[in-house]
Amino acid sequence: MIKITPRDIAPMALGGAFLATGGGGDTLIGEITAEAALRKFGDVELIDASELASHATVVAIGAAGSPTIMQEKPSNGQEALWALETLESRLGKKVDALIAFEAGGMNALLPFCVAAERKLPVLDADGMGRAFPELQMESFSIYGVSATPLAAAAELGDRLILEQARSPFVAERLVRQFAVDAGGGQCISAEHVMTGETVRRVAIHGTISLCISIGHLLTEHASDLPAFVSRLTDLMAPTHYGEVRPLFDGKVVDISRRVEGGYDYGTLRLDPFDKSQGELSISIKNEYMVARQGDRPIALTPDLICILDIETGRPITAETIRYGQRVTVIGIGAPELMRTERALEVVSPRNFGFEFDYTPLEDL
């Protein structure tokens, strides 16, 4: 167990932005609200799943809806508590620990606000090990934990219990509709009720403390990214993630974009600094999904494709990346749980509309 204090939040947000692979929304609002909550209610215990009793009750909690709306309506701080209490009264028992949907982006920070108020521990784990756009892409769903019963709450106190949905995809749609009707575009949902024993099996472990460590490393080596990559390799070696591989150093020379069905699609083209290398193209579907040199893929979802700005040493989101930015592209092998046959049924390149199968980074 480690204590999370307000000072850990900024590095957690920075590391979370790195693992978000271009998605996950702007982490600033999450950072400010989590810092404020910890100052008000006290520190939060970050625990390893092994510290949980086998029969303990764990719930995943996070925001659903539009990140743009959250820029204007950063929440009243009670929605997560309401969602949690609603779920608890439906279950007829108190929750023992919380877990984040995703370690990438704003949702890595969200459980800490309600955990501080309720004096609940947060698990050093999440359901993606990165960011993905949909609920069924959480490892909890992939490994058979039902999203329902699910409770959602919005700013004016509207609370919803979703007893059952025929698929995680339908659950996702219903929660989004609630977000629009009750929360003007956003809500908090508490879902994927599971036991301590289950969470040990289905979650990606060590990811929250990993975010904090990555955040510190990035701050320390903001102006020397090769040093960052080398330290990151050491940091990630003992984790469930695969190889850390520097993929490319170059400049963004073209961006094309379109929006379809709430998704931000696009393609980046990057020119290498080292002219003996070929040009790199990266396909976007909210996150950086596929990196190719010519026809040769060099990193494919669910492996992580992380882009850092060489000038500032900060991760760049897919929404804000622009022509002329000098970037370092780093590939990271996805955590083992996201590379299994079952996981690849929902997070492989084909699930995002690409015409080829997944090959691990290490084999490319």
């Binding site: 809806g65 204007e72 309506k73 009243n76 004016l156 000098r326």
Partner: protein, 520 residues
């Protein structure tokens, strides 16, 4: 004729232009009280040009006073903050993450009350009148002089902010009020920050604008006065009284606008080479490209329309290593006339190297005649490499563009650079900033959100255009000269239905007649 003035940290520059012709220019030293230096520069250009005060049809002034007040935390009024929409936003504290010293100087009292709007402009809750009454009592008890009002999605519906502003003025007749919907775009945190800074500057802006108006009256200049804003446009002086934050960062913008005017190029890269740094930017249709990322003023994050300028550590005073491999970022700065070799000093500077290579002539050239030519070539090569990398970094698309070179150290920029079609070195580039101020137009900008179920994209776009025009007129634009300069659409992902933010900017000529006489 038009008069342009730019008050910088060191120099106050004034110019008079007629059509596209520069009639007179003068550089004075910036005085501690600002007004004396301005008067000196203006009197001198009037004398040089032989113009009568009545020949000057409008004056534009660029000043860094308001930026400096925030950066140096002085002359700020302690503000009472009201946030409307507590039920949707109270997890985000007012003025979170501000540096402590500016927080202490700026925020005296704050209240969060229920109310606010959704992104489509419908009310979330009615404004909590009881809580508002309590806030007004608290402000009265604390003798608050200025109030910042920020409401959730006031960018979509300003009614909540307007109602509270009216109530405050009724209850506290001498109160100064800033409303967030007039200041910023979507993003509650950044917009509220801007509103707080603006409210804290209202008293100062009142004094400063009056001081300028009085000073110019003293010279019998009765034409309208405008102030430069950070996006390269100007606002009427009495508008600027209410919106001092719009003057932030107008210096680099004026310089780039002046470069466009002097060179006759409206799509180009610009490099302004000073003593310590070079500012690199890009002109699109005559205006500096705005920065995509957030801008901090005095440690406070805002979402202003700042020009995207890259400052690099290469200037005329940059210190050069003996082998020429390293140039800058250390600089002798303002001590160039004592420290550079050509002035008898002991420091090898970028200017010395350029003089030794015959790029320019000043000082005592014999002092650099025996510099090793390999070191000079290496230093010039280092400078060339830095500048070409940094200029390329600021371009938004592949393909060649002209490069406009301004500033006193322009001789450091080589004639040929990769990605540059031609290098343009306009005359009078030393007063480009004052020229940029004199030549500027007036703008208005607005954000409108739409989703498919609430209304059509066309009606949202029409509303945005109309609002942008209205704002340009309020800021001092001539109605029939207004054109829509920019339309930018940002899709909102993860909504249940398709939606987007439409941002429109309208630009027009200054309405000289409307402001003639009384106000200026």
């Amino acid at each position: 004729m038009r008069l342009g003035v730019d008050v910088g940290g060191t120099h106050t520059d004034a110019v008079i232009i007629k059509g596209r012709e520069l009639i007179a220019a003068h550089k004075a030293l910036t005085s501690d009280d600002i007004a004396t230096g301005v008067l000196e520069a203006v009197s001198e250009v009037l004398r040089q040009s032989g113009a009568r005060p009545s020949d000057i049809l409008m004056m534009t002034l660029g000043t860094t006073q308001f930026t400096n007040a925030v950066v140096e935390r002085r002359a700020l009024t302690p503000v009472g903050a009201i946030r409307i929409g507590a039920q949707s936003s109270s997890a985000l504290p007012i003025a979170a993450k501000w540096p402590e010293d500016i927080l202490a100087a700026t925020l005296a009292n704050s209240a969060m009350i229920d109310g606010g709007h959704e992104y489509d402009g419908t009310p979330i809750l009615p404004t909590d009148e009881t809580a508002l009454g309590r806030a007004i009592q608290d402000f009265r008890a604390a003798d608050i002089q200025a109030v910042a009002i920020t409401s959730v999605f006031s960018t979509s519906n300003p009614e909540g902010e307007q109602l509270i502003a009216a109530r405050l003025k009724q209850a506290l007749p001498n109160i100064r009020v800033s409303c967030s919907h007039e200041l910023g775009r979507i993003g509650l945190y950044q917009r509220e920050n801007a509103t707080l800074l603006n409210a804290a500057l209202l008293e100062l802006s009142d004094r400063v604008v009056s001081a300028f108006q009085n000073a110019f009256s003293g010279l019998s200049l009765t034409c309208p006065l405008f102030l430069s804003q950070n996006d390269g446009t100007i606002m009427a002086a009495d508008f600027a009284r209410q919106y001092p934050v719009f003057t932030f960062s107008s210096g680099p913008t004026n310089s780039m606008r002046g470069a466009a005017f002097l060179s006759g190029r409206s799509n180009a890269m610009v490099v302004d080479v000073g003593g310590t740094t070079s500012d690199i930017g890009m002109l699109i249709e005559g205006f500096p490209r705005p920065s995509g990322s957030a801008v901090k003023i005095g440690g406070v994050l805002t979402n202003f329309r700042m020009p995207d300028v890259l400052a690099v550590g290469i200037g005329g005073g940059s210190v050069v290593s003996p082998d020429g491999r390293s140039v800058g970022p250390q600089s002798v700065g303002r001590a160039l006339p004592e420290k550079a070799l050509v002035f008898g000093g002991d420091t090898l500077t970028a200017s010395d190297v350029a003089i030794a290579a015959g790029r320019t002539v000043f000082g005592d050239t014999t002092k650099v005649s025996d510099l090793p030519s390999t070191a000079c070539a290496a230093a010039l090569d280092t400078i060339r490499k830095h500048l070409s990398d940094d200029i390329d970094k600021m371009k938004t698309a592949a393909g060649d563009l002209p490069l406009i070179v301004v500033g006193g150290g322009g001789f450091l920029v080589p004639d040929e650079l990769p990605g540059i079609s031609e290098t343009v070195r306009p005359e009078n580039a030393g007063v480009a900033n004052a020229i940029g101020a004199a030549f500027a137009q007036v703008s208005g900008e607005v954000d409108v959100i739409y989703t498919r179920s609430t209304r059509s994209r066309e009606s949202a776009l029409e509303e945005a255009k109309a609002l942008a025009r209205e704002r340009a007129v309020n800021a001092g634009a001539l109605e029939n000269s207004i054109q829509i300069a920019e339309i930018d659409e940002t899709p909102m992902s993860y909504l249940a239905e398709p939606g987007a933010i439409i941002r429109v900017k309208a630009i027009g000529d200054a309405n000289i007649e409307r402001f003639a006489g009384g106000e200026a």
